[in-house]
Each structure stands twice: as C-alpha cells, then as structure tokens.
C-alpha cells in the first residue's frame, strides 16, 4: 500500500515537471543543456574517483592529499548551501546589510583563528573527526554525545538544503518539490557514495567555480540598473524612509533601532564569538576539509584562503537582496513587496527567499539563466554533499565503530560509510518535508546552531587550551550547554514573553534570541566544565601531548618566503575585514 502511494506520488511529480503551470521563467534548450551537462559532469567525477576510494583514509579523509587551495575552496564551498545563497539573499531583503554580519564578523575572525591556532591540534593528533578529538581529550562519552548531536544536526541541515533547492526549482521552473528532492538526492548519493570525501571535495571546488560564474552577473547588472551603490542607497532611503538597510553598525545601538531586533552585543559576542567560532572551528563539516590537506602548512592555509573568498560572497548574495528592494516591480509598475513564507498570498505571491531567483529571471537571458540556475543547484548540492559526507564519517567512526562493531576490517568501515551516505540522504528527505513547516529557513538554521555548536565550542576550547579540564568536566559541560540551549528554545516557544530574559530585552526578535541563547549555552557549558573539572582528577600531563596547548610540541615550521607565510595572508585578510566594516559602518 505504501509502495503504491509512493509510486503514485512520483508519477504525479514527473507529470508536474512535464506540465508546469505557473512559473517565473521558462528554460530554453540551451539552459537545459547547461543544467543537464552539470549533472553529467558531477556523476562522472563520482564514477571516475570510485577506484581511488578503497581504503578508509581515502574514503573518509580523501587520502589526506589535498593542496591548500583545494582544501580551502572546498572548506568554503561546503558552507555554500541554501544558507548562503537563497537564505541570506532573502535575509538581506528583509533586514538589509545587517545580514552581511554573518559573512564578516560572523566568519572571518573565527576562520583565521581556526587556521592559525586550532588547526595544528586537529592535524597533529591525526584524528578522523572533531568527536574523535573529544574522545582523545575527554573520553568515549563526550565523543558519543557530540557525535550523535552532530549526526542529527547534519541530517537536519542536509534537509534544509534539499528543501531550498526544491523551492528554487518550484519558483523558477515550476518543478514539483518532491521531484526536485528526489533528483538531487539520487545525484548526491551517487557521487558521494561512490567517491567519498574526495569526490565531495572535487565537486565542491567545481561548484565553487560555477557559483562565482553563475551568480556574479546578477549584482553587476543590478548595480548598473540602480545607477551604482550611492544611487541604490538613495533609492532605498526614498522608498523605505530609513538608512538602516545600508549600514552595518549604525542601527545596532538598541534592539528597537534595526529590523533584526538585535543589539551590538548580540552581534559581537553571540554571533562574532560563540556562533562563529563554534561553527568554523568545531563543525566537522568544514573542519573535515582542512583536515584532508596534505600537510600542516596546507591545512593552516586552507581556512585563510577560504576567509579571503568569504569576504567577497556578500557581493553576490547580500547585494542582490538589497537591489531587490529597489528594482523589483509588479506588472502595474508598483514596487514589489516580498513577504515571509507564511504570509504568501494572492496579493503578495512571492516570499523573501525567492528574491535571488526573481533577480536572476530579471536579468539573465537564455544560457545565462541556465548558468545561474546551475549555480544555485551547485550551491545546494555542495551543502547537501558536505553534510552527508561529514555525517558518513561521524556515523562510521564515532557512533558505529565505538558502539556497534569495534574490530571491523578497513573495507568493512568503507562499506559502512557508503551505506551511511545512502541512509543520510534518505533521512534528509524526511527532514526536507519537516522544513516546509518552518516559517523561515534562516530562523530554523540559527536555532540548530545554538543547540549544538555553542556548547561544543566551550568543550573544545576547554580541552584545547586548559590542561586542568577533565573527562567528566568535558562531558557534563557539553551536556549542560546542550540542555540549556534546548530548554531556552522551548521556553520562548511556549511563552514568547520569556524572550526578555533570554535576550535581555522585550524588544528583541527571533534572530536576537538565537544569538543570546548561544551565549547562554556556551556560558553554562564553560561554568559546568570548570566546576566539574575542579571536583575531579585531571589527566597526567604526559597524556595530553598533542592535544592541549602548553602540553604539546607543535611541529617546527620550515621558513618560507613571505608570500607563502600563513601569518602574512591572515594579516591581509583581517586588514580588509576592518576596512569593510568601516566603509559600510
């Protein structure tokens, strides 16, 4: 009965693809050729690399052979999912340039810290995952707790990516959402299942190139139409009677003076420290890419290269959102008004999340439209593949191996990894349907971050920089932080007025609550870790070698020319970061 239902559902989906009803754009034959050849190339790469992924090191760590550039671009590309493309373009339309904080203060300092300070520990302890590091430092219980949380989070994130991609297909092409989810799932399962992390990394670098070529033209043409940045600012001011859309810091003095309902303390400490450092230094999805580098120098350079490109991404993600405020018009000439996904109606048929496809449809002719759609698909698929490959590794090494089968052969674990890829995809499909119930994609994702990432940061920092931190301290700190985060989230859901305690203001909005909840989770994790550690016996110093700052001898770096020195490039990146914040103050 169930199979019959699924069969009917797929048949209806295929029919919907063949007979689209109401769509933003119609693809020409050249667009279809471009999209189809991308899928062919992606699967071809997976098939080509299958023969090179026979051992567990090959399958889960890409043989640890990646150069700094490949690891760096993959490090960034794995993060270029729905969050980066449609979600943040929609947020820019909704909140203005404030959304760029998630690219600059919410990424750059943490990425540099990761490359310069934390990467040596991850790299020299030769662990296979971040939970694996926790196992070496705090023991099995911390590993399993963080492994289970991470596996859960990656599956949810993968579902977010699937849903976002299906939404693009629906909005732009009129494709049925179920069909899009099925199509992307099969392709990602094929190339990650066949080629493992190596295939995911190869495709992420390819997708990175496509995203730049496909998405960069929209803001260029948009700026030409708007008459440049200063004219864009003037038109936004004229249409919306506020300058907060084009200033990064000016409106952050109080919760009520900006559309996001957040104060600067939330941005600096909640986003700039806890969420950002939590994501970029402990989320195995991105850390795995840097750990696949061929040597420590390449592993340290990877996040720095990624940071340099990360600073430029607002140009083709945030800027189209801002341009949408000015250039998008209805057929009768009035300004188009995009709304939240739950407020879509006949009068306002498009949501914030659709601003990027709407901009593409506005400027891109046949061929270029196919390239733009391919860029979006590439972004979503890299996000999905990144999550699925990280899930496969953590499931195999941190859940299956310690809890289910400790002494399997190498080929057995490779096989488990391949099946975990398929399992991850199947569960993600279910998650994608759950995401459809969420009011806005971004709020959902932010809630997830603070559940798992913030407490994990507290535990990893304590483990890496405090010799006195104990096994019990690490475990109970991580648990306390996660429970705090989930409890605060539930509290505000049940009683919305509780936001005045969580975010220190009754005028705070949902995004602010996420930032401050992350701060609470990190703080409770740190406090419990410290208290429990002082009540329990620490490991002897000899057992902390290679795991803790001050107890480890880091490999001596051979002198290199300035042009290859990671400190030199980090200094350039942080300088540009400060300049951008001052220019767009």
């Amino acid at each position: 009965m169930a199979r019959l239902f699924i069969g009917n559902h797929i048949a209806q989906s295929v029919l919907a693809v063949l007979l689209p009803s109401s769509v933003l754009a119609h693809l020409s034959i050249i667009d279809i050729v471009i999209i189809a050849s991308y899928f062919v190339m992606v699967v071809w790469i997976g098939i080509y690399l299958k023969g090179q992924s026979n051992t567990s090191v090959d399958f889960f760590m890409a043989g640890r052979q990646m150069t700094a550039w490949i690891a760096g671009l993959s490090f960034l590309s794995a993060n270029l999912g729905s969050l980066e493309l449609m979600g943040w373009a929609g947020s820019a339309y909704q909140y203005g340039i404030l959304a760029a904080h998630w690219y600059w203060i919410g990424a750059i300092p943490a990425m540099l810290f990761m490359g310069l300070v934390m990467m040596p520990f991850y790299y020299i302890c030769k662990t296979n995952s971040v939970p694996g590091y926790l196992n070496l430092r705090f023991g099995e219980s911390s590993r399993v707790l963080s492994g289970v949380c991470f596996a859960f989070m990656t599956i949810l994130m993968s579902g977010v990516n699937m849903f976002a991609m299906a939404l693009v297909m629906k909005v732009v092409l009129g494709w049925n959402i179920s069909f899009s989810i099925l199509m992307s799932s099969v392709v990602v399962a094929l190339y990650v299942g066949l080629g493992g992390l190596r295939s995911a990394i190869f495709n992420e670098v390819l997708q990175f190139a496509l995203i730049w070529c496909g998405a960069l033209l929209v803001p260029i043409l948009g700026l030409i139409e708007a008459g440049g940045w200063h004219n864009l600012q003037a038109k936004i001011l004229m249409n919306y009677h506020t300058s907060e859309y084009t200033h990064l810091w000016k409106g952050l003095g109080h919760f009520s003076t900006n559309a996001m309902g957040v104060q600067w303390t939330g941005i600096v400490f909640g986003l700039g420290f806890v969420i950002s450092f939590g994501y970029w230094t402990t989320d195995f999805l991105v850390v795995q890419r840097a750990m696949a580098a061929k040597n420590l120098r390449a592993a340290q350079m990877a996040p720095i290269i990624a940071a340099a490109f990360k600073m430029a991404i607002p140009f083709f993600v945030i800027l189209p959102g801002l341009l949408g405020l000015v250039v998008l018009h209805n057929n009768d000439g009035t300004l188009m008004h995009l709304v939240g996904q739950d407020s879509v109606s006949a009068a306002n048929p498009n949501s914030y999340n659709e601003v990027l496809p709407l901009m593409m449809e506005r400027y891109l002719c046949p061929g270029l439209l196919g390239l733009g759609i391919t860029a979006l698909i590439a972004g979503f698929m890299s996000g999905m593949a990144g999550n699925v490959s990280a899930f496969s590794t953590v499931w195999t090494y941190d859940i299956y191996k310690p809890l289910i089968k400790k002494n399997g052969s190498d080929s057995h674990y490779v096989s488990v990894g391949r099946w975990a890829t398929v399992l991850g995809i199947v569960v993600s499909i279910g998650t994608a349907y759950l995401v459809m119930q969420a009011a806005a994609i971004m709020d959902y994702v932010q809630a997830l971050f603070s559940f798992f990432i913030a407490p994990l940061l507290g535990t990893v920092l304590a483990g890496m920089f405090w010799k006195r931190a104990t096994k019990a301290g690490g475990f109970w700190g991580l648990l306390a932080g996660t429970v705090t985060s989930v409890a605060l989230y539930a509290w505000v859901r049940v009683d919305p007025s509780a936001i005045r305690y969580v975010a220190f203001s009754s005028e705070a909005k949902a995004m602010a609550a996420d930032l401050y909840r992350a701060l609470w989770a990190f703080s409770s994790c740190a406090v419990v870790t410290i208290l429990v550690s002082y009540c329990t016996k620490p490991k002897p110093l000899s057992e902390l070698a290679g795991l803790v700052y001050g107890a480890s001898e880091l490999p001596h770096a051979e002198p290199v020319p300035l042009i290859k020195n990671h400190w030199f490039w980090a200094a350039i990146v942080i300088t540009v970061f400060f300049i951008l914040n001052i220019v767009f103050y």
């Binding site: 050249i30 050729v33 471009i34 050849s37 991308y38 190339m41 790469i45 080509y48 690399l49 090179q52 052979q65 990646m66 150069t67 550039w69 490949i70 190596r198 190869f202 670098v205 390819l206 190139a209 496509l210 070529c213 033209l217 043409l221 030409i224 139409e225 250039v327 449809e361 506005r362 400027y363 891109l364 002719c365 046949p366 061929g367 270029l368 390239l371």
Partner: protein, 74 residues
Amino acid sequence: MQISAKISIWFFIGVLLAFYGALIFGYGIFELISGVLAPVVLAKLHAPVWWGGMMLALGSFYCIRFVPGKKQTN
C-alpha cells in the same frame, strides 16, 4: 595542483567553463547578429557576449594548463 594521478580537478573545471562559455558566447553572437534580444532588463548590454567570452577564455586556459598527461607543478 594535481590531486589525482590522472586528471586534475582544474581540468574538469576548465572543460565545463569552456563548454558553458562557448554556448553562452554563441547565443550572444546570435543575438548580436539577428538583433532579436531576449526579454530581460539591460539586454542591450549584450551580457552573454562578454560574460560568455570571458568564461570561454578562462575555461580554455585551464583546459590547456591542466590537460591530462602534462606534468603539473604545484
């Protein structure tokens, strides 16, 4: 920048960019010659000609630079 012993990732990228560039550039030339422009904003700027041409040049460079069998320097 060679990862695999046989084909570099940069070669894959070069092939795809060159192919896409050729298609888009070709369409742009068709628009230019026929005078039939797609109904999009700023069509008169002929974006497919310069954007497609740029992709074709970049893709061709990567194809030649990282062609399989050629010794790569990192």
